[in-house]
Symmetry: C2
Amino acid sequence: MKITREKWEKNFSEWFDWVLREGEFYDYGRYPVKGVGIWLPYGFKIRRAVTEIIRNLLDSTGHEEVLFPLLIPEDLLRKESEHIRGFEGEVYWVTRGGSENLDVMLALRPTSETSITFMESLWISSYKQLPKKYYQIVSVFRYETKATRPMIRLRELTTFKEAHTVHESYDDAERQVKEAIDIYKKFFDELGIPYIISKRPDWDKFAGAIYTIAFDTIMPDSRVLQIGTVHHLGQHFSKVFDFKIQKKDGSLDYPHQTSYGISDRVIAALIALNGDDHGPVLNPKIAPIKVVIIPIPAKDEETNKKIMDYCDNISAELNKNSISNIVDKDPDRTPGEKYYIWELKGVPLRIEIGQREVNNNTVFVKRRDTFQGAAIQRTELVPKILDLLSQVAEDLRDNAREFMQAKIKLVEDVEQAKAMLENRSGVVEVPWCGDNNCGLKLEELTNSRVLGSPYDSPKDVSNKVCVVCKKPAKDTLRLAKTY
Amino acid sequence: MKITREKWEKNFSEWFDWVLREGEFYDYGRYPVKGVGIWLPYGFKIRRAVTEIIRNLLDSTGHEEVLFPLLIPEDLLRKESEHIRGFEGEVYWVTRGGSENLDVMLALRPTSETSITFMESLWISSYKQLPKKYYQIVSVFRYETKATRPMIRLRELTTFKEAHTVHESYDDAERQVKEAIDIYKKFFDELGIPYIISKRPDWDKFAGAIYTIAFDTIMPDSRVLQIGTVHHLGQHFSKVFDFKIQKKDGSLDYPHQTSYGISDRVIAALIALNGDDHGPVLNPKIAPIKVVIIPIPAKDEETNKKIMDYCDNISAELNKNSISNIVDKDPDRTPGEKYYIWELKGVPLRIEIGQREVNNNTVFVKRRDTFQGAAIQRTELVPKILDLLSQVAEDLRDNAREFMQAKIKLVEDVEQAKAMLENRSGVVEVPWCGDNNCGLKLEELTNSRVLGSPYDSPKDVSNKVCVVCKKPAKDTLRLAKTY
C-alpha cells in the first residue's frame, strides 16, 4: 500500500478537524460557545496518559501538586503592571452572582502567578523553606480575538499544567529554569515530539518575566507551534506582593521566582505529528488501545465461531500482559469499514484473524505507520507484539524528528528568508547582530514571527553579518509562520 | 494516654478549620474570594487517592470519562424551567471578555445536565448506543448566600464528580439509579464513611429530577452532611433539548436520563469522622503518609548516627513494600513537637526509634487512633505494620459506623423530636402518613430539615400513626439539622 500524505500536509487544518471529530477524540465547533471543546472518552484517555507522564516527572523532582481557585479578584490580577498589560485584552470577567452585581469583578484565571504569589507570601518566610516548587493542572481562560482552533488556540485551555517555584537568589531561580527545561525535554522525548528551544525575544516574553525560554515544534503544514514555555520571573511578582523572606545571611529580601507551563497543544502535536491521509498514528506509549483485533469472517457459521474464539483468546493473552486491545466484533460492518475507523483512531497495530490464521495457529499483524504486515506464530505473540510496539514508537519519534530537522534552514539573505517562509518551508534561521531593532525589522520584512535565538545549540556565526544591518553577527535568530 | 474529644465534638467547626490549616490540608479564608479554598500538597494527595477510587469504580462499570466546557450560555442553562429555577439564584455570570461586553452571558456551570444533554442530542440517535454513561471530575460554582465553610459549603466546588447517563426506557434509567447507589455504597465503604440513604422529599429533590436518592452522614457535631446524590431525570432534559432516539421497536422517542454526583464533602467527611483533640485520624487507605518514623536522639553523636541509620533502614524497607513513610529528621524540633504535628496530620502509625530499639533490633509502633504502642521485632516489621494498618482501617470504619448509628433514633412525638434535634442528637426518625403537607409541617414544627424516607431499610410502622396528622403511618421520615 502506498502511503499518501496529501491531506495531512497540504490541508492540515481540515485533516486535523476531521481526525478529532470523526476519530472521536475531541468535539469542537458544535458546542455553542466559541473556542471551547469537549474531550471525548477516547481523547480523554490520551489526555490522561499525557498528564500522568508530566505528573511523574514533576513529582520525582520535588514538585508538589496543589489546586488554586479559578477566580482572581481584579485588584490581585492588576498588581503586577506588565503582567496585566499582557493579559488585559483577553481576560473573562465574572461580574454577577445570582441576580446581584459583584462588588469586585472576578477574572477567570488566564494563568496563576498573581494568586499563587499572594498565597506564597503568607506561607513562606524563610530560606529554609526554599526551593518551593508547586504545580497544578487546570483550566485557564483567554478571550482570544484571533481565529480559534481545536486544542491549538482555545478560549478554555483545559490542560494547562503550570508550575510555580520560589528561590532565595536569582541564580537559584536560573538553575530552576534549567531543571524545568530538562524536565520538558524528557517529557517531549518520551512522547516522541521533536522540538527546538529558543530564547524568546524581549518583545515576546511572558508578561511579567525577565526572560522566556520556549519549546516549539513544526506542524505538518510547516507552521510553528509553541508547546512549552519556561519563565524567569525574577522579583517582579514578589516585590508587588511584598513577599519577603529571611535569607541565609539573616537579611530580608524578595525571593526570585520561575514559572513554566504546557497545555492542550502537547496533545495536538502528539496527534498531528505522525499521520497520513488515513488519519494519525498514535505513539504506543499513550495510545488508549495498542492493538485492534479484527476477525475476517468465513462463509460458514462453524468456522466463524472458531475465528471469534481465537480472537478472544488472543485478546485475553494480550490483556494478561497489559497490552490494551479490543476485538471489533460489530456484525454490521465489513473488515474494510473497520480498518477505516481504527486507522482514523490511530491504533498502532492491527491484528487480522481469518480461517488461515486459525488453521496455522498464527496472527497477521499490520503496523499502522508503515502498513507493513507479517504473520506471527501464536507462541511468539506477546514478545513480537511488544517488539513491534517499541519499534513503532521509535520510528515515529525518528520520523517526526527528521521531518522537523528538514524544515529548519540557515539562510543569509532577507529576501530568501521571506520567500522560504511564504513557501511554507518551516523555520528559517538567519545571522543577527543581537539588536532588538533588527529583530523587529526582520518580522516586518519577512511578514513572520521571531522565535528567538537557539537556546542550547548556538550556531557558529564568525565571519557572518546580520541580515538586516550588515554588522557582524553575534547569534542567529529563528523566524517562522506560527500558530 | 486518655483520648479526649472535647474540641472535636463540641467545637467541631473550630476543630475542622484548625486541622485543615495547621495540618496543611487546605487553606481557607485567607484567599481574597469568599467561599473558595486552596488544596495544599498534603490535602491534594488525599484528594487524588479519593478520585482514583471513584474513577476505578466508574471505569469498571462502563462509565467513560469526558471533559465538558466550564461555560454554559444563558439560553442553554435556561432550557429546562425547573432546573434554572433551582439554580438561578446561585449562578455566577461572565458578562465581559477583555474590554467588551459579551452578547450572551455565560454561566460558570453549577452542574452540567444542560450542556451534556445538548451534546448527547448530537451524538446519540439509536438504542444501539445505549446505555451511555459519562462522567467528569470538575469545578462547579455556586454563588452561595448561606455562610460558607471549607470543603463543606463552597462557592467553587473543586472536586465535583458528576455522572450523566442515557437510557432507552424509564425502567432502564431506574436500574441505573440502583447501579449508581451500589457504586456509591462501595465507594463510601472503601473509605470507611458510614451513611444513610434517603429518598429526598419532593420539595427537596434536584431541580429537574423526577426523584432524588441521597447519601447522608452525621458529622461530629451531630449535624447531617449530604455526601452524594442520585437523580432519575426521566425525560425532562431530553424533551426540552429535543433529544430523540430510535427505539428497538423502530419508534422515535425521548430517552431517559440519570445523573449522580459527589463532591469535596466526601473528603471533609473523611478527615472529620475519625478524630480527637489531637486532630484527625486518616484512613490508611487514603493516607498520603502511612507511617512516620521519629528518631529519639541520644546523648552522644555516635549513637545518634546509629539511630539515624537505623531509621533510614526501616524507611527503606517500608518503601520497598510500598508503605509510604517519612523519617522526620528536623534537628530544630523535639520528638514531642514532632508527635504534635504528625498527629495533627492524622498519620495512622508512628514509629519511635531510640537507642533501646537499635540495641534490641526492634521498633516501637504507636497507633494514632488508640495511642496504643507496642514493640515489634525488626524481622517482623513489614507483616506487622501491614497488619496494623488494616486493623486501623477496620477499627476506624467500625467506630464511625457506631458513632453514626448511635445518633439515629426513632421517636413518635413531635415535641420529643424537636427537643432531641435542638439537643444535637443527630437524626430523628418519625412515623409519617406519606403526605407532603405533614412533612413540610414537620420541618416547621421541629425547626429542622426533612432528609426523606429510608431508601433501603424501611421501618415497620404497622400500628403506628403519623406524628403530625395521627392518621396511620405508611413510612418513616428522617429529620435533622443539616449542613
